[in-house]
Amino acid sequence: MSIADSTQFLCFLALSAAVLLGALGVVLLPNIVYSAFLLGGVFLAVAGLYLLLNASFVAAAQMMIYVGAVNVLILFAIMLVNKKETLAAIPGLGVRRILSGAVCAGLLGLLLRVDFTTPWALPGPVSIGEGATIRIGEHLFSDYLLPFELASVLLLMAMIGAIVLARRDVFSSDVITGEGVDQGLIEKARTPLLLEKNLQIQPVLEKTP
């Protein structure tokens, strides 16, 4: 085995170990912040695996999107609502853990069996290295044109939806009749007549400055 091969093999072992241990840590650690950071580590290790496969563009994209965007977003969310809260103890937690552990172990066994019994089409396509960037572009504009364009609709809609759900509304009245409204379901949780007796619905009249 040449140095290049053995280096590659060692790298593969290290990265796989990082992926596996990191993923286990993400699931098992009680501290959610650690989980989030480990998730970033897992993403990075996966990027490393892509590098080993000579897919540097995919590796860089993985780094930028998963670590640079997704994971940072997750960390943001965790840190902005980092309330120390003691949750009520879940009854039978131990049994639940054992059960879900057993399910996961069973699934793992099943996957391993499938993995070893399947005659995979090996070796897969030969890596084209640096030409991959161009090939990806060609695919995006030929046989993956439809999903590529649809993804733009998906992103646009997700962005608009996120803004709509997150913003403080300037108008909080019925556009047609001008009544105050509460931006809730029309069907109230309780019968409206009961509601009226007990508490008046407070129309949300919040105006952004």
Binding site: E138, L145, L146, P147, M157, L165, D169, I176, L185, P192
Partner: protein, 550 residues
Amino acid sequence: MTLQAALEPVLALPAFLALAHSFPTSSLLAAAGASPAASPEALPAITALQINAGAIAPEAAVLVAMLACLLVDLAGEKAASRWVPPICYAGLGASLVLLALQWNAPLQPAFLGSFLPDNLSIAFRGVVASSTLLSLLISWRYVERSGTPVGEYAAILLAATLGAMVLCGSTDLVTIFVSLETLSVASYLLAGYMKRDARSSEASLKYLLVGSAAAAVFLYGASLLYGLTGGSTSLDAVALALQTATTPVAALALVFVLATVAFKIAAVPFHQWTPDVYEGSPTPVVAFLSVGSKAAGFALALRILVGCFEGFQEQWKLLFTVLAILSMVLGNIVALAQTSMKRMLAYSSIGQAGFVMIGLVCGTKDGFAAMVLYMAAYLFMNLGAFACIILFSLRTGSDRISDYAGLYQKDPLITLGLSLCLLSLGGIPPMLGFFAKIYLFFAGWADHQYLLVVVGLVTSVVSIYYYISVIKMMVVKEPQEASDVVKAYPPITWAVEGMQPLRAALITCVVITAVGGILSNPVFSWASTAVTGTPMLQRAITLASATSLS
């Protein structure tokens, strides 16, 4: 069409590029064309590799309407509430017309094999587009009354429609996934659209979590299929690879893919999200989810299970038999105990999905046609019911079943419409639902699916019980027994903007539900054309009949 012809050379350019670079698609499609399993209608590989962008013209109409809604919305909420409805009608109407024009057209795969505008896809896309149109008609007043922005609402709903429509015709794992996500993400957003209501947010969050898990499972299954093909995502290649695949991996991929399908059509035991999401989401959104989203799910099921897993028919049919029985039994029995109208319809929709699955399990021409027919019938009867309960909640702010007591005194229209639609859902003659259901059971009986048909019949009777109890609540009660809400019923007025579309949708649905059954012959022939015009289904049918004969 002339425009498309003019563009054809330009659009075909990438295809030649693709050929020049010998993409896996091209070789695999060529292989599919050469294999004996391919139907005689299969076109030569060279025509298969064209962009043929006209195939998604209906989707383009929806997209244009969506963008127009967003642009109009920039002019302010007043302008939006004035202009967004006509834009949506125009877009969806154009989409339906374009779909009608595509009907029975010579079949050409579009986008280098990632989209196939066969009759099956057109039928389901038509159902999706009509469900959006009707949902939008009944939405305007609801959304405006709640004070949430109308333009974005319509845009997101149109995006969901776009995703669902592309999903109905996609023949490529990547396209399937992206369109599935477009539909799902839009649905999550819509479920949480009443953002100051904790129930709506809860519904959205639950839907998001369960949906993401389902999407992840689908991706895992898709990656297994991709691995089997050795580097192609096209469904043709997947079908080819599955012909020689070993059982364990195919079974695993089947279960994973099936889990997603079952999640989308809310089949038991993948239904847990349904009641909470249906109860917490805005009612017009529920109307869309229960019809449009479900239709897309069934189209996906047909595409993947019938198109790819031919060799594993027994396995998936067994699984679907179990799912169908569980759905019919659980959906219809739990619906008995519901006190909220939306929750009851949620469970009822689980049961209805179980009925439709009978057609899928049959795998005969009648079975598929009955599926298409039932979806079309379900579109009108379910949306009619939703129009009625939206109208009721707009007037009273309640959706409890007990609050409907004595309604016929105050609001005969809702009473009549809801009664007819519920009767049709239960399958009482001479409603549309009766003919659809009888066709479905007939197809099942002919294919010797006796267990399914018997369970279907029994649970239909159960469903009739709870549907009729609602009708009894509305009709039989004496005036003094009426609920407080009905006693304080506001005067009926249609003057407010947004009520007229609601009335139009209500009356359309109710009329079609009521008389559609009697005039159902053209619908029958339409449904069977949808099946005969689809090579994939034809192949499955010939295969099934060959095995049954031998």
